[in-house]
């Protein structure tokens, strides 16, 4: 009985190991996406763009969790979607380069960059 249970555990373990590993966010790709998509648009439309070190980590986490852009009129996530990237890729090199990256991966990349570049992050980052 005990041997059989161990066998089941081994089988389930091997199946689990064969499944997809957790995505290891790429903060450098997040940095490029944030600066060339988020910052470039905010620079054009606002008097001062929002730098990663303008907020603390908890604020960034809460902002992305709430998923509200433009005072709730739209979602943040839409700006990480393939349709949005496709719509601007003719004029935006970052959108073109990352056109086929899965939406969630890009969002995780930018999250990683913002957590790192936040005012209380490991490497506070400005806009440039």
């Amino acid at each position: 009985m005990k041997r059989s249970l161990m066998l089941i555990a081994a089988v389930l373990g091997s199946v689990a190991a064969g499944s997809a590993v957790a995505y290891d966010a790429d903060w450098k790709r997040g940095r490029v996406y944030y600066r060339q998509i988020c910052t470039s648009c905010h620079t054009a439309q606002m008097p001062k763009p929002i730098a990663p070190n303008d907020k603390v980590k908890a604020d960034w986490a809460a902002y992305l969790q709430a998923d509200k852009h433009a005072k709730g009129k739209e979602t943040v996530k839409q700006y990480f979607g393939k349709p949005y990237r496709a719509s601007i890729k003719a004029t935006n090199q970052a959108a073109a380069k990352f056109a086929e990256v899965p939406d969630q991966d890009l969002l995780d990349d930018v999250k990683a960059f913002l957590q790192k570049g936040a005012k209380d992050g490991d490497a506070p980052a400005s806009c440039s």
């Binding site: 970052a94 490497a123 440039s128």
Partner: protein
Amino acid sequence: MRNSTTRRWQGVVAGLWLISAGAFAAAEIKEAKEAPPVRLDSTADHSKFKQLQGTFDSGPKVTKACLSCHTEAARQVHRTKHWTWEFLNPDNQQRLGKKNVLNNFCISISQNYPFCTSCHVGYGWKDKNFDFAAEENVDCLVCHDTTGNYKKLPGLAGHPAYKPVETPPGSGNMVKPPDLAKIAQKIGKTSRDTCGACHFFGGGGDGVKHGDMDSSLAAPDKDLDIHMDATGLDFTCATCHATSSHDVPGSRYKPTATDKHGAHIRGKMGQGNPATCQACHGNTPHKEKARLNTHAEKIACQTCHVPTFARGGVATKMSWDWSTAGQKGADGKHMTRKDDHNHVIYDTRKGDFVLGEKVKPEYRWFNGDISYTLLGDKVEKSDVPTGVNRIGGSPADGRSMIWPMKVMRGVQPFDPINKTLVMPHTAGNDDIGFWKNLEWEKAIADGMQNMGAPFSGKVDFIKTEMFWPITHMVAPKDKALACAECHSADSRLKGIDGIYMPSHSQKRWLDIAGWLAAAATLLGVLIHGALRIVMSRRK
């Protein structure tokens, strides 16, 4: 009963095996078309190595773990300029390197070791007795960190913080110690971020020293640098500075001003510096406008392709006047003044600065020869600046090209009796350092004593200048200099000897002679034509 239960479990197990085997078989069919996911940036996942698991309470302990596999790495590093901070110029036998030279920024490392050596690839260089032979003193993480979290703070002699440190002192800003194990488990190839951690911040701040290197190059766009463009070619520093055995080619102490080797071919020996433009582009790089290749015989690529420097949003220092240091605020405390762009233009500890963005370079003939004014070399105070370094070059030596330069101008302390430049002890929270105590005599005496150099006790200030060849921030070809930038009355190259440039190098007498000749020719043709007409009518 026990037997039947066992049989049931065995049935369940067999079923699960079948399901999983089926799943794997299906996966294999799929994998035949698509390879399974794998890290492509390295052949090793360092988080899997036992040596790097657990915690590390110091940098040297991390290095020992690295060296348990990479047995030759530290001794390779020991042979490089990044480790020794020394360079013997084979042309003039000057002993250079940060250990020996002066500059007109923070001046020198003498008695400022714990601060300056935050940019040394080692741990513990706090005074001149540093052990350069110790392998565990090599800092692997500073070049191989991929997390961006590894920081070596000024004042810690090349160590990262091992406990929270208030930086700068008195600011209330606490810098957390980095997680060395986590960083070690994620090490990888060098990057713009790792090289830039020092080279972007030379001279004591972002973009201060070089002008063509600052933090904007960490993730630049195409217009800022066509090669490093983060959404394009995405070159790292090592793409051009192709490194072998930890020795990084491309030196500012012995630069390659003219590269006649052409594009490098794999396997061919003795091709020279891999970091030159010609090493990839060859000596006739212009395919569409071949006429421009004649320009490339005498004009460095950078002259046209780096139209301005410091153009990524970070200002660079263009001059530094130490003679005005020491002024305090109305409250008797140290102070700073800023300009409209929020740049610090005066600091009690350092004097006055002039900063620049999008700066047009100055241009000089340059053949790669550089000599330095070293400690002990005689200098004379005058209105003509003393060259902290001097560049060689002329239109006639067959080795020179016209190069863009950042010329850093300064006023710095010197010894008017011994007539030498001096190395003051500036940094540090002690009773001597100038930045705290504002007493030149004491600070210079300490710095000079450390170097074993004489100091009369008298201090005066001398104008200096220093040349920094510009080579980064290469613009795309449509943003390179237009013809009229040089071929015009207000040419960028005005004052450069030995060249004749149409539309710039105008001589009035030659123009008049040319027009007269053209008019005479026209007149001759008209007279000849008229005579022919007249003669034919007579017939």
